[in-house]
Amino acid sequence: MTLPLIVRRSLRQHLLSTIITAFSIALAGGLLMSVWVVKVQSQTTFTQVNTGFDAVLGARGSKLQLVLNSIFHLETSPGNVSAADYEFIKHDPMVKTAIPIAVGDNLRGYRIVGTVPELFTSVEYTPGKKFSLADGRLFDPAKKEAVIGSFAARKLGLKVGDIFHPFHGLIFDANNQHPDVYVVTGLLAPSNTPADKVVWIPLHGLQTMAGHDPRAATDVSAVLLQLTSPMAGFRLDLLYNKQGNRLTFAYPIGAIMSELFSKIGWFDQVLTLIAYLVALVSTGGVLVAIYNSMSARRRDIAILRALGAHRRTIFGAIVLEAAAIGLLGMIAAFAVYAVIVSVVAAIIRAQTGVLLDPWAFNRVMLWAPFGMIALSALSGLVPAWKAYRTDIADNLAPVS
């Protein structure tokens, strides 16, 4: 009972300093775990999200831009694909499914994408799962009807039966309203994919929206493709990217997204380095907090020694106290972590539609607490050494 009692009482005697130090460890530990989990989860999730497609065919340009635009509904479209090119690849025997999309309009900032009903009826966005409706029905491809992604519907406050005017361009401008009127016929159930933040309308509707260039009325922005085999991907890559020069064939989608993460890898490293430094500084705070209180502790240490406590008992008590501050901090760190990742996940969801799972197990949740507690204990070594060397007689005043 001796060591735990000494540690408990010491923590209580220096309560304010204990709370402040533990809080700084909580912030640092929470930040470290958050940076790590968000980094790993976003990389894993974004390289796995393909909404059920193997490749994308688009205008000549960056593959990454093409994938971001057509799969994640971010970025601008690199250009158009003619109806002939769409028909050509649609009937290629190496292609299992070809879904055209057209972009260029928005509804109060949420992207409007024109497509065909097969996207919802034929494609599994993840193995075994197709898009489903939470309410209403799919749009009629020949009418001015819309199906709203779950996140967009919630944010825009739309329900079945509502009507809206699309706005021209990908960025919302209240002065750029189209005269066309669309009626909401269905709301998609949440899929935790980028489709959740999209307003879906018939392909023909977007192509022929009042004010759009009539010369491009049969063009599409990109074609989402399911291939018959991986070999088909390599052959089409050869055909479009190496031999051709008009179109870009983005394949495989995961590898292209990995390129994005490798390009911004330095940013990850900087964030991680900052998190490590914050962790180091906060555990250094344990050293400062205990070391600064050593003058006040000398008499207690001398009394304990006079009662028979060994030097190593006093040394152990200080190290254990430092570790206990680390432990308290890391318990609180999980609350800090919960707040940070919830906010980050909400921002990522709002921007991309992709849902991170903050509570999915990650090994950082084991090594970070152990590491921080070990670092705190290490920080306790310096004041522990000072305590170890405390002279009993000198600190048991007065002397007669």
Binding site: I303, H310, A393
Partner: protein, 226 residues
């Protein structure tokens, strides 16, 4: 065999001007089991150093301090700590209670380093000194007289063979001092512990049947005087 037997005990310190000064030089001293002895000595006479040497708080330069046949002076520090925790109770002038701990915890800690933190025994000792109703109070919530009683309970809780008391009434008023002294002597007797008390207070010394002059024991003082 005596409970405490000291031979040729010397301890010196280096003064601020670099000179080595002998504070304690006791050729011979002994105390029998259960004996109660008061040592008379003025401030600065080396009484506390003498008690610290017996308790193993300070290491001797030379000589031997036999406690129940074990030579405290020849032991390494960890063994001296252990022997002190098991066999010696120490009552200080300023009580030296741990302010962050309750009375009960103060007594329990005194026992714990000796290897037997018995809560029943600690409670019994506090009840014996009249503080059964203050078990969970902290020292600062007690009067000075009560604090000294906690120190007495702590010193005796581990059933030590020897109790050392360094000016135990020095911080108490006359009435509390008299009561504290009686309590220390009674509880030592009840627990079969020998008591070695140092004081310069004539009223305290007058309460003892055996009183010795520390200056007569300590050759270092004789040299200083001559």
């Amino acid at each position: 065999m005596s409970l405490l037997s000291i031979a040729n005990l010397r301890r010196s310190f280096v003064s601020p001007d670099g000179e080595r000064k002998t504070i304690v030089d006791v050729p011979s001293f002994s105390l029998e089991a259960g004996q109660q002895l008061a040592l008379r000595g003025e401030s600065g006479s080396g009484k506390t150093t003498f008690l610290h040497l017996i308790a193993g708080i300070l290491a001797a330069d030379s000589g031997s301090i036999q406690i129940s046949g074990r030579d405290m002076a020849a032991l390494g520090e960890p063994a001296r700590d252990r022997l002190r925790a098991e066999s010696i109770g120490y009552i200080f002038q300023t009580f030296n209670l741990l302010q962050g701990y309750t009375c009960l915890e103060n007594v329990l800690l005194g026992m714990a380093f000796g290897g037997s933190a018995d809560q029943t025994r600690a409670t019994t000792m506090l009840e014996r000194v009249g503080l059964g109703h203050r078990l969970h109070h902290r020292p600062r919530q007690l009067s000075t007289g009560q604090q000294q009683r906690v120190a007495v309970a702590r010193a005796l809780a581990n059933r030590p063979k020897l109790v050392l008391a360094d000016e135990p009434t020095g911080n108490l008023d006359h009435k509390n001092g008299r009561e504290a002294l009686a309590l220390i002597r009674e509880t030592c007797r009840e627990n079969g512990a020998a008591l070695l008390l140092v004081s310069h207070d004539p009223q305290v010394l007058a309460a003892f049947e055996s009183v010795r002059d520390f200056a007569g024991l300590n050759e270092a003082m004789k040299e200083a005087v001559s």
